[in-house]
């Protein structure tokens, strides 16, 4: 989409070397079929509408946004589970967009997905051994049964489960343990990149903390890179090196974790951060909250110009009519506007909201 971004995108803490995964102008549109006898396409839900991302080796890139912003679809389109409508996804120098299933298969060894719901992503009729062994069998990575058993045992131990329990079925495990099984399965092929789609949102906090620690340890020890998709900004801040904020199918701000949380510049990021309740009564009650009005507009018919302007507190209260005109007509590009990191707001201005 733009070369400016390629050169710039990563003034981040890990901004050295080549990105392992590079996404440019990724689009995923779902057609809306009209009624009547002849089904014709009358429009499109622009779930992902021009996403640029770079993931560097060994880093955790958090992708956050509210429900319906397209973050999960982005993850799936990157993995080619839902073919992208347009754009490019380059993984270790290879273009993934347009590859068919057969061509994708060898690449799946290197880039794996961990799903959100550990109750839905594990086959209830397979014992845990078979679930974890399946990728190894499909890719023919072990030469005999003995080796397969040893590998599965190791994987299960790696994620902190008892290998004696691999003959049990998923239903016999708790949510946190199931998520560990899902992680063991994703690790089976020794991937380089894990796309984690809300990996801890279905878990209770005391269990969630254990899985987050496990993910951090695995990343450090196995040299993995994570695309960590989540809506919980506390979790994202904890685990990420860099964070990208999504709104209505676009990335609107990308920065190092510390930078984004302490000096957000996009009004949406500011509102998002200010909306998170802090588990600290004194600080929570002393805060000034930015409350944005309304709900996310339909991705089938996004607003003209800046997509956030319909809910933007800055647009509504601070800007002059002339400035608003620009918001309404000019689509802000994701670029550095003198704030030190990429953002998509014409009037970006750092503010501390936590």
């Amino acid at each position: 989409m733009s070369t400016a971004i390629t050169e710039h995108a990563t003034g981040g803490a890990t901004g050295h070397g080549e990105p392992i995964l590079s996404v440019r102008g990724l689009e995923k549109h779902f057609p809306i079929k009209g009624g009547g006898l002849i089904k014709r396409t009358v429009g499109a839900v622009r779930a992902v509408d021009g996403v640029d991302l770079d993931l560097y080796p060994g880093e955790v890139l958090g992708l956050v946004g509210e429900s319906g912003c397209g973050k999960s679809t982005t993850g799936r389109a990157i993995l080619n589970l839902q073919p992208a409508t347009a754009g490019s996804v380059v993984f270790q120098g290879r273009e993934l967009v347009g590859l068919d299933r057969k061509a994708m298969r060898p690449l799946r060894r290197d880039i794996q997905l961990v799903f959100q719901d550990p109750y839905a992503s594990l086959n209830p009729r397979l014992p845990v051994f078979d679930i974890v062994a399946e990728p190894l069998v499909i890719h023919g990575l072990t030469k005999d049964d003995k080796e397969l058993r040893a590998r599965v045992r190791e994987l299960v131990e790696t994620v902190g489960l008892n290998p004696e329990h691999t003959n049990r079925y998923p239903a016999e495990f708790s949510g946190g343990q199931r998520q560990r099984i899902g992680i063991a399965r994703a690790l089976a092929l020794q991937p380089k990149v894990l796309v984690l789609d809300e990996p801890v949102s279905a878990l209770d906090v005391s269990i969630q903390a254990g899985v987050i620690n496990l993910l951090e340890d695995l990343k450090n020890e196995l040299g993995l890179s994570y695309l960590f998709i989540a809506h919980d900004l506390s979790v994202v801040r904890h685990i990420s090196d860099r964070v990208a904020v999504m709104y209505l199918g676009r990335i609107i701000e990308v920065a190092d974790q510390d930078e984004l949380f302490s000096r957000p510049v996009h009004p949406y990021t500011q509102a998002l951060l200010s909306a998170i309740p802090l588990p600290d009564p004194r600080r929570e009650r002393a805060r000034q909250r930015i409350i944005i009005s309304g709900d996310v507009p339909s991705p089938a018919n996004p607003p003209s110009g800046c997509r956030f302007r319909t809910r933007c507190q800055k647009f509504a209260n601070v800007l002059t009519d002339g400035q608003r005109e620009i918001c309404m007509t000019v689509d802000p590009k994701l670029e550095d506007r003198g704030t030190g990191h990429l953002n998509a707001c014409h009037y970006a201005e750092a503010a501390s909201v936590l």
Binding site: G17, E66, I212, D241, A275, P277, D280
Partner: protein
């Protein structure tokens, strides 16, 4: 029943405002036949058992609390801790198969065991409820206006349909629904999730209840919408002067809204105290663990999280002793003998633990108490083969610092467990983790 109700309602439709202030004085909304001087809501030794194929599930095991006028009581706990069942029992909404014992008194009158008909007098007027999922708590085939006026007219038969509708519009305006006069004619599916929850709040506050029980009112919502709804709830409280029981798993939400907090674990309150006691000086190891396992969006240092090992006990056959003992870092033999009562640990602060002094020493820092059991630290403590540490980009400068030594537990190591994952698939593993 008609007199006090109608005065309240007509006052609203004429002036457009509901009662003012979160005080009891100057309000006369108590239901006839209830003692206005008795405590608002008094729950004593509430037990709920569900018969199942596997036996009796003891979901709520002796809940006690008193709700004072105008206060917000937060009930926190993880899924399955019995917090929702407690509130359904208070409202008399549990299925017939549930066995409920104990006592629930609203303004001095026992609610448990009452007929549905007499409970209907209390529901919505004395105690009203806000549920988690606004799509299932609103009826999809009725317009939202009809659902609000129904609530109004059930408790005030003399209210004309016209006055009720005017009041419905007022209520929708109060909860921040734009174009309320038109939106009363909309169906629930025409609203977004946040707007629906506003409608549910409007219904809950319609009859100026004295108690609003909110069961995870913002859990289904996005964080920016959650902030809007929490603000509407505050409005609802100040407009009606009601007290609230706020049930949630989100410790951030409770920190912002609650005056007192009740922490539930395995069907029992394990700690009750003021919001500051609970967050800054917890005395029950579970409360401490819960706070320690929470990633903080406002923390600039990346401290390692302190998870609680294991999972909550099955409520089917509870062993004797403290239910948290198997997960507790301070566990001693005495803990298994009998389930501890809640001991007084400060003014208005009780905790069900026999080792509260040890917890007090941590002053809210979970890592000091929990590091001993945090076996997730094991992975970090494993020495890595050199070839692995440099594999594929390896660690870089931005990777989080290795955890401090006190969190690394050498005793529970799994030697070579992870190290062999990539380097040699057949290398022996001798670790064994429960």
């Amino acid at each position: 029943m008609s007199t006090p109700g109608s005065t309240g309602a007509t006052a609203v439709s004429s002036t457009g405002t509901l009662g003012r202030g979160r005080t009891e004085q100057g309000r006369n909304t108590s239901l006839a036949g209830f003692d206005a001087s008795a405590p608002l809501l008094e729950v004593t030794d509430l037990n709920v058992r569900f018969p199942t194929e596997d036996g009796l599930v003891h979901a709520v095991r002796g809940v006690d609390y008193t709700l004072r006028s105008g206060e917000v009581l937060g009930i926190v706990g993880e899924s399955g801790s019995g917090k929702s069942v407690t509130s359904l029992a208070v409202m008399g909404l549990l299925p017939g198969s549930a066995r409920v014992t104990g006592s629930v008194k609203y303004r001095g009158q026992e609610l448990l065991g009452q007929s549905d008909r007499s409970l209907s007098r209390v529901r919505g007027k004395g105690v009203s409820m806000i549920f988690q999922d606004p799509m299932t708590s609103l009826d999809p085939v009725y317009k939202v206006g009809a659902q609000i006026t129904e609530t109004l007219r059930v408790h005030d038969k003399s209210l004309s349909s016209k006055a009720a509708e005017a009041r419905a519009v007022d209520l929708l305006e109060l909860v921040g629904i734009p174009n309320a006069a038109e939106r009363v004619h909309s169906y629930p599916h025409e609203f977004s999730g946040g707007m629906r929850q506003r409608v549910v709040i409007a219904i809950a506050m319609a009859n100026q209840p004295e108690v609003i029980i909110a069961d995870e009112p913002t859990t289904a919502l996005d964080v920016t919408v959650q902030a809007q709804i929490l603000e509407v709830l505050q409005t609802a409280l100040s407009e009606t002067g009601a007290a609230m029981v706020m049930i949630t798993h989100d410790l951030g939400v409770v920190a912002g809204i609650a005056d007192r907090v009740l922490v539930m674990y395995a069907g029992r309150p394990v700690e009750i105290g003021s919001v500051e006691d609970i967050y800054y000086e917890p005395r029950m190891p579970y409360t401490l663990g819960l706070l320690g396992s929470l990633p903080r969006v406002d923390s600039t240092t990346r401290e390692r999280l302190t998870p609680i090992t294991g999972s909550p006990p099955s409520l089917l056959n509870m062993p004797p002793g403290c239910p948290f003992a198997p997960r507790c870092p301070l566990h001693i033999a005495e803990c298994d003998e009998a389930e501890p009562e809640r001991f007084q640990v400060g003014p208005g602060h009780t905790a069900a633990c026999i080792r509260t002094e040890q917890v007090a020493g941590a002053h809210g820092h979970a890592a000091e108490v929990f590091s001993e059991t945090s076996d997730d630290a094991v992975l970090a403590s494993d020495a890595l083969p050199a070839d692995l540490a440099t594999a594929e980009g390896g660690r870089d400068a931005a990777a989080p610092a290795t955890p401090p030594g006190d969190q690394v537990e050498p005793g529970a190591g799994v030697p070579g467990g992870t190290g062999s994952l990539i380097s040699s698939p057949t290398s022996p593993t001798n670790g064994d983790r429960a």
